[in-house]
Symmetry: C2
Subunit: 251 residues, 2 copies
């Protein structure tokens, strides 16, 4: 992929390259330090925060646009990605004065955009956040400590989180959000964080094990200042089979 040097070049090429009025925004979830994080960008100009996003090439599937954006910001392929909502209010991106667009060629950017929202589940430690040409910074932010975001990006995050919660009942999110090996307490804290409530340790373990998609490994010693918990990993075969049959968690 050819790199776009600067803003002006991007703006003038954009009109030829992209579908008008249509963008993609991604809510990229990660889990670290017992909290749920979202990957955000900070604009060079003005320091405003926003979600990683981009546009749809004229011959590109919208899903592929999302995949491309994710790859650009995280360096990762093969990400779990889920389209969840299209945001189509005509005033959703009204205050475009935030962008300092000059010249006639940038007009397309000032027009109204409908954006299609995707959320992604990634393994925190595998991501190397990369700012785009617009941004000075790309970093993880605790979902409960979000800065003010541009446009309706706050709503987009809220909706993404709501959909993530909804999907808890069908989809074992630990598979995508945790490293390959993890402990039961870690898995539990993930669920507690997403659901924003505490769960009973013993009942949680029973429920998880009853799904028969986990495999228990040897002890883990290092680090923790207390009794070393077992490590688990997902059993891919059983996992795939279970998902196909339709898992029912009870959250």
């Amino acid at each position: 992929m050819k790199k776009i040097r600067d803003f002006q070049e991007f703006v003038s090429k954009g009109e030829r390259l992209y579908l008008r009025h249509l963008s993609v925004d991604c809510v990229i979830f990660g889990f670290h330090d017992d909290s749920l994080k979202v990957l955000l960008l900070k604009w060079k100009d003005g320091g405003h925060w926003c979600l990683p996003g981009g546009f749809v090439k004229k011959n590109e599937a919208v899903d592929d646009s999302a995949t491309r954006i994710l790859k650009d910001r995280t360096g990762l392929d093969d990400i779990f990605l889920q389209q969840f909502h299209a945001f189509g209010d005509p005033f959703r991106d009204r205050n475009k004065e935030l962008l300092s667009i000059q010249g006639k060629s940038g007009k397309w950017l000032m027009e109204r955009f409908i954006t299609i929202g995707y959320y992604a589940l990634v393994e925190y430690s595998k991501v190397s956040p990369q700012p785009d040409w617009l941004s000075e910074e790309c970093k993880w932010v605790d979902i409960h400590k979000l800065p003010k975001l541009i446009y309706d990006h706050q709503d987009i995050v809220r909706k993404a989180l709501a959909e993530l919660r909804r999907s808890l009942n069908d989809h074992p999110i630990g598979y995508n959000l945790l490293p390959e090996k993890f402990t039961m307490p870690e898995l539990q804290r993930l669920y507690e964080t997403v659901l924003d409530k505490t769960l009973d340790r013993r009942n949680f373990q029973k429920k998880m094990l009853s799904l028969k998609i986990l495999e228990r490994l040897k002890e883990r010693k290092t680090g923790g200042a207390h009794k070393a918990p077992y490590l688990y990993r997902f059993d891919k075969k059983k996992y795939a089979k279970a998902v196909k049959q339709g898992l029912r968690f009870g959250f």
Copy 2:
């Protein structure tokens, strides 16, 4: 609203009026004769079947486009409407040769469209299906006996049904799909149809009543050749309260 006289006028005005590359398609569900129906249109030209759809005006919220389309095809306001997916494959509407567009002004219609899918739940008897200017016919079709549909409209229906099933756990669909007064067997057959499986009559009733959103009325005599079942209706207050707290059906 000014009526659009014919195809050519529509095509030439469209470019000024609508956002490019963006459409809305609606899967309108109704329930009648113990079966789930979808409202379809049949084109004058070629007799192809499709979903009711339309385009997004330059200053119109996408949700409002869907509402407008629904009003035009059914005559109804205040419809339960739910956006469920954006279909963004570049070849999804490839075979545009189905449309016989002539003239330069129609070019916009031949380009690629991303369509945003909505499903609606309506009370069958209240709908008076109205063809649009493209169509000779607008009618209800059993969801299990669909004709061949244009483009990816079959996929759109499939996805809508999947989402409807998913929503069964949070949303009491009977409220939108049945007439104000209905019997327990009717409600049950609705669920059986949507889920495509039979349910135990007694357990179903217990579950429904335990939600405390139904109000039982007097007997119903007319019609049925057997014991007359009670009539029920939704108790709007309790219903609203329950939905807000998050219903959990167990399907």
